[in-house]
Amino acid sequence: MNFSNLVWWACFIVGGVWLQQLLPGIDLLVAGLLVSLQERRLYQTFWLLLVLLLVQEGTGTLAFGSTALWYGALIVFFNVGRWLFEAENLVFVVLLSLGLGACHFLFTLMMASLQQLDIPQDRLFLESVWQACVIPPAWWLTHFARRRCMGDAHSV
């Protein structure tokens, strides 16, 4: 990972965290992980995944695990979906975001019930819908910004 790439991802994470303040309960950084998966850079994806896990789990109020599960679901969905779709196909991203929205609801509910926490399910459902709606534009913006700033050299 070269220096400019590192700076780009650092800026992405900082910007994403600031934007997440505006949308409580929504993960905007997942778009970066998706872009990194599409670039098929394992080393970059590994480090990004690690940092995002720490950020999201650190700011959360649930015990560690639900973000790990969720990002795990993203990786599984991505690898399974790549057999059927082009990785950068918008339909693929939309389907992926629907799956991730559903997983967000299920995993958060499951982890909360395992910890015997009462969480408002109607709000969780709304946030999951929002999450599914937010991923495609966030992915497009990230993808676009990355191409503009880094060129096509980053793609493998």
Binding site: Q56, T59, G60, Q115, D118, I119, P120
Partner: protein
């Protein structure tokens, strides 16, 4: 005669020749001067506009700072209970990220700077909640509107005890386990009871909004609204726990380890749910059913996971007589802990 002719003809001719030129020159000069003036006016106008913009920004900043000053003064005027050390903190963010399932806020202090798990958080209006998870310099506060929040309270006028439980975002608080024959009135202030030492005694929490009785329940249904504006938190006050005096009469409080909190019903007094770090985190608990039980060390499963070992283990016996003012420290107790770096 020739002189007069010369004067009338030659001079007029020259004048006739020169005057248009002079007029034209004057016009050009005047236009040029006007143009230059206009340029100056425009530049001056731009400068004045910039000045107005700057002054407007300054006025805006000043009014914001003035509002902040008012809030901070109000916080400073709040007299902390004796022995509890007040620490100011800024609210950095509200619920942040996909894992923020509980009602929470992030503050600018962590366990290195006085915000250990379980630390009471309040504003000059009333109780906000307690520190739920803490990093070195940042902490998450569980707000009292969270359904897992449990605070042992007393009504101010009638001294009726109960457990104040959150009902969710922007919701009212439910005061549970208020017996059918207990007196409590709409509009009455609800204060922390100080039981279990999780909160100092006598801090305002909420105001009773409705009281109703049911034939099917042993308890009244009491709803209260929080006094603190939890939607617009900017600065908060943390109350650092007083140090425990050696030799003071103590009760064994439920111990909390790093992986499991203490569940509801393990508290003392009126069944306050939760231990020192989970007093308001006994999610879904039934703490009040065990009212008046002695505290036990039995860990219960329905509790959030605390981040670190809280600072309290033994706790001084709470005073029997209820009081409005903050609880005074036991004899010989030092006023507060030395500031931590």
């Amino acid at each position: 005669m020739l002189d007069r002719l010369a004067e009338h003809a030659g001079l007029e001719f020259v004048g006739a020749i020169l005057k248009p030129g002079v007029w034209a020159r004057d016009q050009v000069v005047s236009s040029w001067n006007n143009y230059l003036d206009l340029v100056g006016v425009r530049e001056e106008n731009e400068a004045l506009r910039e000045q107005v913009r700057t002054l407007s920004q300054q006025v805006q900043v000043a009014s914001e700072e003035r509002a902040e000053l008012v809030r901070l003064r109000a916080l400073l005027e709040l007299e902390p209970p004796e022995g509890w050390r007040p620490l100011g903190a800024r609210v950095v963010a509200n619920r942040l990220g996909p894992q923020a399932a509980l009602e929470s806020a992030i503050i600018s202090r962590g366990y290195y700077s006085g915000a250990g798990p379980g630390t009471p958080v309040l504003t000059h209006e009333g109780v906000v909640g307690r520190v739920y998870r803490a990093g070195p310099y940042t902490a998450t506060v569980l707000l009292l509107t969270d359904p897992g929040s449990r605070i042992a309270v007393l009504s101010a006028a009638n001294r009726t005890a109960g457990i104040l439980v959150g009902t969710g975002p922007r919701g009212l608080l439910e005061m549970k386990y208020v017996p059918q024959n207990a007196r409590i009135e709409v509009g009455e202030l609800v204060l922390t009871s100080g039981l279990e030492g999780a909160f100092p005694k006598g801090v305002p929490v909420a105001r009773v909004e409705s009281v109703s009785q049911s034939d099917l329940s042993l308890f009244q249904t009491v709803y209260a609204s929080p006094l603190a504006d939890l939607e617009a938190l900017e600065e908060v006050l943390l109350l650092e726990r007083p140090p425990v005096q050696p030799g003071a009469q103590t009760l064994p409080l439920p111990s909390v380890n790093a992986t499991q909190g203490v569940g509801p019903g393990t508290g003392q007094g009126s069944g306050q749910g939760g231990g020192a770090s989970s007093g308001q985190g006994g999610h879904g608990g039934n703490g009040g059913h065990r009212a008046q039980q002695a505290p036990s060390n039995q860990p219960a499963p329905r509790a959030p996971r605390p981040q670190a070992q809280p600072q309290v283990t033994p706790q001084t016996v709470p005073q029997a007589a209820p009081q409005m003012v903050p609880q005074s420290a036991p004899a010989g107790q030092q006023p507060g802990q030395p500031p931590r770096q």
